[in-house]
Symmetry: C2
Subunit: 262 residues, 2 copies
């Protein structure tokens, strides 16, 4: 087949061509957020390609996070939702005491979201290697308590956290029991027993969600997760809690303010 063009640049893939044109229409604002894209069949007609090919173009945009596809309805330019930004002050004792809220609820409420937290199972387990290393704990069986928490905004799950506390610390306390003492966070409790969050370390990475994570957090295609490995450090420089958070990156972000040591 010959290339019919007379004025433009060289031809490439039909699939890419279609995706490129839709993409730039989106980026230029010609297709504003919420707009419905032409249907696969319609694109196939316009570009004189098989429907497969047109659909593949839309799948590309979906993987790039540009569109949401609704079965039976159409593909729509994704609306950029404002992020809930978790601040670095979220471990502040004072904030907690004044509001009685856990960090997540605090930030979410401040930003106008209907937020709640649900506790999951609490188990005595063997810590993952990276957690064990940061806790300075044996990589041995049952050396830590693992607590699971799910965070919701407007009734959608947006974050999960797995908290690991050395058994030596948690032993015989309510920290080993589910449901407790979540309302104001476990930190209020730990504080009363000599563990104050003096410093924190947060190691941040991003990746595509695992299949199971995508299902559990209802993460749409084209949306990554932010993984935060958080370590709480006591005034005597001992780490006493490590939490691995997974955040839906389309609704959650982080916001740190910190002073720079010389």
């Amino acid at each position: 087949m010959t290339t019919p063009l007379g004025g433009g640049d060289g031809r490439q893939n039909p699939r890419q061509t279609i995706a490129d044109e839709l993409r730039s229409a989106i980026e230029q604002g010609e297709l504003p957020p919420g707009t419905k894209l032409p249907s696969g069949r319609e694109l196939a007609r316009r570009y004189t390609v098989a429907r497969n090919t047109a659909d593949d173009a839309i799948k590309l945009l979906q993987a790039e996070g540009l569109v949401d596809v609704r079965h039976g309805s159409g593909a729509y330019v994704r609306r950029r939702r404002p992020l809930v930004r978790l601040g670095s002050n979220r471990y502040s004792q004072r904030l907690r005491e004044e509001t009685g809220l856990s960090p997540f609820l605090l930030e979410a409420a401040r930003q106008g979201w209907q937020a709640h937290v649900e506790g999951g199972p609490v188990q005595r387990v063997q810590p993952p290697p990276d957690v064990a290393e940061r806790l300075g704990v044996d990589d041995a069986a049952r050396s830590v308590i693992r607590r699971e928490n799910w965070y919701f905004a407007d009734n959608e799950p947006v974050q999960v956290g797995y908290t690991y506390i050395p058994w030596a610390i948690a032993k015989g306390t309510p920290l080993t029991k589910p449901g407790e003492p979540m309302p104001t966070g476990i930190y209020a409790y730990l504080e009363d027993h000599g563990y104050t969050v003096t410093r924190i370390r947060e190691e941040i990475s991003a990746r595509m969600p695992r299949h199971s994570e995508a299902a559990a957090l209802r993460i749409p295609p084209g949306v990554p997760v932010i993984e935060v490995l958080h370590t709480s450090i006591n005034s005597d420089d001992t780490p006493f809690d490590v939490t691995r958070f997974m955040l839906r990156a389309d609704v959650m972000g982080l916001d740190y303010t910190m002073s720079v040591e010389e």
Copy 2:
């Protein structure tokens, strides 16, 4: 067509079935990193499906970031490369002076990477709204200087940064000229002129790369970017520089340690 199974669970999509089995083989370690997956044609034979279908299964894994596909060769389980973690101390004056290195070079070198930075164009421009807001600058034309920097590790681009400095500050200084004064970073220069990084704010999000970013940073499918909106704050609480970084999330991460205010 009937479902031939006798012992297992219910059937679903061939495409999903194939992806599920490969995925769990990868997650179980039966297919270790670097292993070559069966070819599309081979999978098609094994599962008695069309080649399209088998290929689609592999594309799913690719979009999840689990495999790297090499044209003409095969699909391989992705090796997890260790991250270069940029620390919160990277704006430390002392570190800079002792080593003479810019933050990125410092961290990368410390972690055994062959690193270098390339400066891009320097222009006087109108700042993006979010940058203008953080700089406390007019959203007007030509109110800031924009500097562009590309960061390489082992000769691969892994990070871009766009730095915005108010024209009022940069006017008549080497900050308006390209190539300068990069070797030790612009911060050394600013410091000598009354702008010391006393506090920083970093707003973090993650998303799939834009098409152009993916091309420029050579980001493979299934890999997101981390976007950091960095603000440098002077001792008098004035912001004097905003930089937007884009990091390839498969090789770059962040590592903050900070004290918690009461």
